[in-house]
């Protein structure tokens, strides 16, 4: 932060006159471009989820809001998502240590757990609608479907990247590409786990 302020305060027309040598490398971050892109995406996605949450809080105050009894399935689903996140992290660490076999195994497990999470979310929808809570029944249930749906859509997008990475992991696949994708997948899953934590907490307490 202070370095940013320092940069912004510098006088570019003066700097450089004393350094006659080679200009320096100026990349802002020392890790891969794709990771920078992903972090920038978190910025966008966080803005999106934040605004949904703000909308939720603002809508809550109206008199027609009837709190929802969340299905217990959500606890189990949360467990799956934690497992998925852990498995992908494990896979990433294995790849760093050149343990391809375990890495592949854990990566597959992470994807499977994510699929279980999504299935579980669908089951929760099913339970809710059987209990009479349709999308339009009440703003609380509308938000439930909306928030879980948007979160699920993000996870689904992650699974597309996951599936692509699987092809790199096949015998003869691009090892370096696989490693960098697994890195990104793990980070993305952690992010979605945090988002889910926040959303789940919000749904539980209201």
């Amino acid at each position: 932060m202070t370095s940013l302020v320092k940069t912004l305060a510098s006088k570019p027309w003066l700097s450089g006159k004393d350094q006659m040598g080679e200009p320096v490398e100026v990349r802002s971050f020392h890790f891969a471009d794709k990771k920078v892109g992903l972090l920038a995406f978190f910025f966008v996605a966080s803005s999106l989820f934040m605004l949904f949450i703000v909308g939720y809080r603002l809508r809550m105050v109206y008199e027609d809001w009837a709190p929802l009894q969340e299905p217990l399935t959500l606890w189990i689903n949360s467990g799956f998502l934690v497992l998925a996140s852990l498995a992908l992290e494990f896979a990433r660490q294995c790849m760093k240590r050149d343990n391809l076999r375990w890495g592949r195994w854990a990566f597959n497990a992470g994807g499977a757990a994510s699929l279980l999470f999504l299935t579980g979310q669908l089951a929760a929808w099913q339970q809710l609608s059987e209990a009479g809570y349709m999308v339009a029944s009440n703003p609380a249930s509308s938000f439930f479907y909306l928030l879980t749906g948007i979160h699920g859509a993000h996870l689904l997008g992650g699974l597309v990247a996951w599936a692509r990475t699987l092809t790199h992991l096949q015998a003869g696949g691009d090892r370096a590409a696989a490693q960098s994708s697994m890195d990104l997948c793990a980070i993305y899953w952690h992010y979605l786990l945090i988002v889910w934590g926040v959303l789940f907490y919000l749904l539980l307490v209201t």
Binding site: D33, G37, L48
Partner: protein, 588 residues
């Protein structure tokens, strides 16, 4: 990653036409695709504005304009111009073209995603235009799409039009996000050696600040669009209160239309700056180049961009002073809104002070840039009326508002669009545009728009409400106001039609323009230093450029040449300016 090996390879572009111009991953081609699509859809919106003006100036003269058609024109015109033309043109067009070139990169860091961004944009445009071909036509809810009106009968296009509009916006936001992530990452990671942040031209600053605003603000539009789509298709009540509509009680109830407005304007106000900040940046570089003088107060200009961008997130409710929101919010938003005038005013001063003691060449890009200062000045100053809550109350929803926002976010940015197209045309095509035709284009556009919008403010003072299909029988409107409206209509259609001069110039000069050479303006920034003109795929041949100085070394004292390109190494004979006092007093 296509350019992981940025420092080594010389990149040959793919040769087949379809890979070169259609499924291209070259940022320059994508930029031109964005630009041409935006102009095409913009022309549609221009024609819609003529139809609207015909109805206002000469009511009933065109029989096919009934109230629903009129409100559909209003809506489509506004939405297209704001989102699909200006946002797409500044960021998808100029952002794409200039960021890699000005930063000394070979391309965007994610070229494939960049290509996807354009195709998603094209899909969003197609969905939008398709709404003219569905039963009921496009939505006529106004570009603000306020519920409950936008999804209830009594507004045109509530069957299909509104659904397609919301879908199209969602697709556009996806397209923008893909582009925006690219711009940010490219600026952060792919600047060439020596290109520190403060050596970047203001164009890059403006574009990147606007991109950041967009990445934060467009989610708000996405959220409101998705929730509105739920209300429309699934009968939820996010925004729907208890309503008795045309005698029938609706099933929905309990929601809040004001909630939508907060979400919408949380996007909608930064959107103004998403259009304005790139314009600020581009115009700074053009003014500096053609005044042969460094931009005055570069640091202040950068800080102002950052300040404006930041404050733009806490002023949104000045669009809602009379929306029925809590009235005490008016104090806060009026104060923040008037504070944003200060950094904006600094920018205007610094542009004019760049002219001061310059060596001004009045070619077409420079004329349009000075035209921008003048038109933006009016738009900015009238914003001080509407931002100040007590002044806004009588003026809101009148033609004063229409005149204000057209001046500030239509005419002024469009002046920059033209200035920038003329300025970078020689680089993009390798040929010079026709200067005489360009000047005619400037005079017609500048004087014409002034004649259209300056008197329009006075119709607003008189209280003429906006978004009216007809004013028949309203007694408080003076008879002469109808005459003024006819004049405005004639002026608007003439100026619009004469934009054909611009199109002719662009197309004709492609073949017949004089060959421009790599740096016809003797400019300092990197895009003018490329080995090829137009730049090849990959921009730089074998070696990436290296940057030794800031972007504005014009008329440096003691130098024979009146410009020093950014990639020109420091020379031992160059006077050491670092001993100059911090005030940087001008040598006589």
């Amino acid at each position: 990653m296509a350019y992981a090996d940025q420092d080594t390879g010389h990149h040959h572009g793919p040769d087949a036409f379809i890979w070169k111009y259609v499924w291209s991953q070259d940022h320059k081609v994508i930029a031109i695709q964005y630009g041409c699509t935006a102009i095409a859809v913009g022309l549609l919106a221009l024609v819609l504005s003529w139809l609207m003006r015909m109805q206002i100036g000469f009511p009933g003269s065109l029989e096919f304009i009934d109230p629903s058609a009129y409100y559909q024109y209003v809506t489509m015109h506004g939405m297209i111009m704001v989102i699909y033309l200006l946002t797409a043109f500044f960021l998808g067009g100029f952002g794409n073209y200039l960021i890699p070139l000005m930063c000394g990169a070979r391309d965007m860091v994610f070229p494939f995603m960049n290509m996807l961004s354009y195709w998603f944009y094209l899909v969003s445009v197609i969905i939008l235009v398709a709404s003219y071909f569905v039963p009921g036509g496009p939505t006529g809810a106004g570009w603000t799409l306020y519920p409950p009106q936008s999804i209830l009968q009594g507004t045109p296009g509530t069957d299909w039009g509104i659904v397609l509009m919301l879908l199209s916006l969602a697709v556009f936001i996806v397209a923008f996000t893909m582009g925006g992530l690219n711009y940010i990452t490219t600026v952060l990671q792919a600047r060439c050696r020596g290109m520190t942040l403060m050596r970047m031209p203001l164009s890059v600053w403006g574009i990147i600040a606007a991109t950041l605003l967009g990445l934060l603000a467009f989610p708000a539009l996405f959220v409101s669009a998705v929730m509105l789509l739920f209300d429309r298709l699934l009968d939820t009540s996010f925004f729907m209160p208890y309503i008795v509509h045309m005698g029938q009680a609706l099933e929905t109830g309990g929601g809040s239309p004001v909630l939508f407005q907060h979400l919408f304007w949380f996007f909608g106000h930064p959107e103004v700056y998403i259009v304005a900040l790139p314009a600020f940046g581009l115009v700074s570089d053009i003014l500096s180049t053609h005044a042969r003088k460094n931009i005055f107060g570069y640091r202040m200009m950068v800080w102002a961009i950052i300040a404006i961008g930041g404050i733009s997130f806490i002023v949104w409710a000045h669009h809602m002073y009379i929306s029925g929101m809590n009235l005490y919010l008016g104090y806060f938003f009026a104060t923040t809104t008037l504070i944003v005038a200060i950094p904006t005013a600094i920018k205007v001063y610094n542009w004019t002070l760049t002219l001061w003691h310059g060596n001004i060449i009045l070619n077409t890009p420079m004329l349009f840039s000075i035209g921008f200062i003048s038109t933006f000045l009016i738009g900015g100053l009238t914003g001080l009326f509407l931002g100040n809550v007590a002044v806004d109350i009588p003026l809101s929803d009148t033609y004063f508002v229409v005149a204000h926002f057209h001046m500030v976010m239509a005419i002024a940015p469009v002046m920059v669009v033209f200035a920038a197209i003329y300025h970078w045309y020689p680089k993009m095509t390798g040929r010079m545009y026709n200067e005489a035709l360009g000047k005619w284009h400037f005079w017609i556009t500048f004087l014409g728009t002034y004649l259209i919008y300056f008197p329009m403010h006075y119709l607003g003072f008189e209280g003429m409400p906006r978004r009216y299909y007809a004013y028949e029988g309203y007694e408080f409107i003076s008879a002469s106001a109808y005459g003024l409206n006819q004049f405005i209509t004639v002026a608007a259609i003439s100026v619009g039609v004469l934009q054909v001069l611009f199109l002719i110039n662009m197309i004709w000069s492609l073949k017949a323009g004089r060959v421009a050479g790599p740096n016809p303006w003797l400019a300092t920034t990197l895009e003018w230093q490329t080995p090829d003109t137009p730049p090849c795929h990959g921009n730089w041949r074998d070696e990436l450029p290296m940057v030794y100085r800031w972007a504005y070394d014009y008329s440096v004292p003691g130098q024979e040449q009146d410009y020093l390109p950014q990639n020109q190494p420091m020379d031992n004979g160059e006077p050491d300016l670092s001993t100059d006092s911090a005030t940087g007093a001008a040598p006589a």
